[in-house]
């Protein structure tokens, strides 16, 4: 958050230099809206939402799943050496820490 404050400071300064007496509302709103969607778990999870949605059908939706359940599924995919699905092949590339970050993010995000 320190970096964010610093950035807002730059914006404020810039607008003051431009003769603008008050800070526009958008940096605060934007930052508040954006930052939870910008952390490490969020960027890692961008790869999930291309396939997983309530519209999917044969590919399960990830909505409303607790983190522990998502984590266990992903760890199982990673561990099953003879697994053949896309998920088995993908999860072999992710560390346990990555899987923790993804599970935490997906569980708290209604729309991953």
């Amino acid at each position: 958050m320190q970096a964010v404050s610093a950035a807002l400071g730059v914006v404020t300064l810039a607008l003051l230099l431009a003769g603008c007496g008050s800070v526009p509302s958008w940096p605060d709103e934007r930052s508040a809206a954006a930052i939870p969607a910008l952390d490490h778990g969020a960027t890692l999870s961008l790869a999930c939402s291309g396939c997983h949605s309530p519209a999917g059908g044969a590919i399960p939706s990830l909505e409303h799943r607790p983190a522990a359940l998502i984590r266990q599924s992903l760890m199982d995919y990673k561990a099953e050496a003879d697994g053949t699905t896309v998920m088995h092949r993908m999860m072999r590339g992710y560390s346990e820490a990555d899987i923790d970050a993804i599970s935490t993010y997906l569980a708290r995000s209604a729309t991953p």
Binding site: A37, L38, A55, G56, D98
Partner: protein, 425 residues
């Protein structure tokens, strides 16, 4: 990262300077919005517009796309083979408009990276603080002697979906049983590396079920190709005697065509086709050359952390137009790159540095109406270089297991529903 941080400072200072020069009232200045312009309404551009608006709701987001209807390339090979209707490939932009994105149905004809403007076909100009280009591919007309836009009306490429898809399907339907279909595959890189071989599989399915005396010849400028062992296994298993392929080592590369008599010439022979599908060599969409983001290869070098152009400031490039190998030129890649690019732009505008992450790709290819195979990849962009993560990704198992391939066909259909809803919904 340093350059990116500097760009952000310039953006902020630039905004302030603009307000001051324009003599805007404090109230008007307070309403100054970050101007984000996206060119190209396919899987990369439409996704980028949606996620930029979602992450930066107070920014102005404009999507420039000449067509009001978008026909998706994934699954269009099923249309060619008569297994799906073209209408199921059609998507529009009302969903994005409802999310507050300005849609401009014009062609972007030029970009001035210094003035930060995009020129439209009408002559109007759009100013941007950040520009995202997702122009897809253009064909290198004339790279195969005799193959130009007029020739494509006789020997369709069907490598941009829509009227060309319908044309190739009609030609197959009109062909007599016992006819010869010829496909010409260009050298890499091109859009959708396994696409020609999925198409060959599905055309073979059509011939086997509807015109069993007919044959398919693939004249290929490549020696090796994507998912090769799985396709070759399927062709032997499902379509014995239907498909013949000549790779580059077998003089398969087509060097000239004559649409008047439907002949294709290699260094070795002339072949006369009843139906000819010529997939031409490709480059980044024309606007990339105009904007100066394409290099001598015809494709666009990028920083894979932000998908910022390596050649021009404040311009990002996504999807098929980029040099992103080992990530393939696929709809999944373009959609994910768009989400990542939007996230990194939002991070920078929120005062956070862009950060490396893992990217991934999945491509399904149909072998028949009810069987599919896939390739997956996981990539790191650590250090500004895209690399495959060792031990991850790879192909579906060989062995033509009908349960596994049937499940992958169902998963492919689910993927298509989800990615098109995320992109256009």
């Amino acid at each position: 990262m340093t350059a990116f941080a500097q760009t952000r400072r310039e953006l902020v200072i630039g905004m302030a300077g603009t307000a001051a020069l324009a003599g805007l009232s404090p109230k008007a200045a307070a309403q100054t919005k970050v101007r984000l312009v996206v060119v190209g309404g396919g899987f990369g551009g439409a996704t980028a517009a949606r996620f930029l608006k979602q992450l930066l709701p107070n920014a102005s987001v404009t999507l420039v796309e000449p067509d009001t209807d978008y026909y998706a390339c994934p699954f269009s090979n099923l249309v060619i083979a008569g297994l799906r209707e073209l209408e199921a490939q059609r998507f529009g932009y009302d969903g994005l408009r409802a999310r507050g994105i300005d849609i401009v149905h014009e062609r972007a004809t030029d970009v001035d990276p210094v003035a930060h403007t995009v020129t439209l076909g009408s002559g109007a100009m759009l100013s941007y603080d950040r520009l995202v280009l997702s122009p897809g591919v253009d064909f290198i007309w004339g790279a195969i002697e005799g193959y130009d836009e007029a020739a494509a009306q006789v020997m369709p490429h069907a490598w941009k979906a829509g009227a060309q898809t319908a044309l190739l399907r009609r030609q197959l339907e009109a062909m007599k049983d016992g006819g010869l279909v010829v496909m010409s595959v260009p050298p890499a890189p091109f859009r959708c590396p396994p696409g020609p071989y999925e198409r060959a599989s599905l055309i073979a399915h059509y011939l086997k079920t509807r015109k069993p005396k007919s044959r398919l010849l693939i004249l290929d400028a490549q020696d090796k190709f994507s998912k090769q062992p799985l396709f070759e296994e399927a062709w032997a298993h499902l379509y014995p005697g239907v498909i013949e392929r000549l790779g580059a080592d077998d003089f398969g590369r087509v060097i000239a065509v004559n649409p008047a008599v439907r002949t294709l010439a290699t260094d070795f022979e002339n072949v006369t086709a009843d139906v000819a599908n010529v997939i031409p060599p490709q480059k980044a969409g024309e606007i990339a050359q105009r904007a100066g983001v394409a290099d001598m290869t015809g494709w666009c070098p990028i920083d894979p952390i932000t998908f910022g152009s390596a050649l021009q400031p404040d311009i990002h490039v996504l999807g098929d137009a980029t040099i992103a190998a080992p990530m393939p030129k696929s709809a999944f890649s373009a959609n994910l790159q768009a989400k990542l690019c939007a996230t990194q732009i939002a991070r920078v505008l929120a005062g956070l540095a862009p950060e490396p992450t893992f990217l991934a790709n999945t491509c399904y290819s149909y072998l028949s109406d009810d069987a599919a195979v896939s390739i997956a990849g996981v990539y790191t962009n650590e250090g500004g270089k895209l690399k495959s993560v060792e031990g991850a990704g790879g192909l579906s198992p060989s062995g033509s297991d009908p349960v596994i391939q049937g499940n992958e066909a169902l998963q492919a259909a689910a993927w298509f529903r989800t990615i098109t809803e995320q992109t256009f919904g």
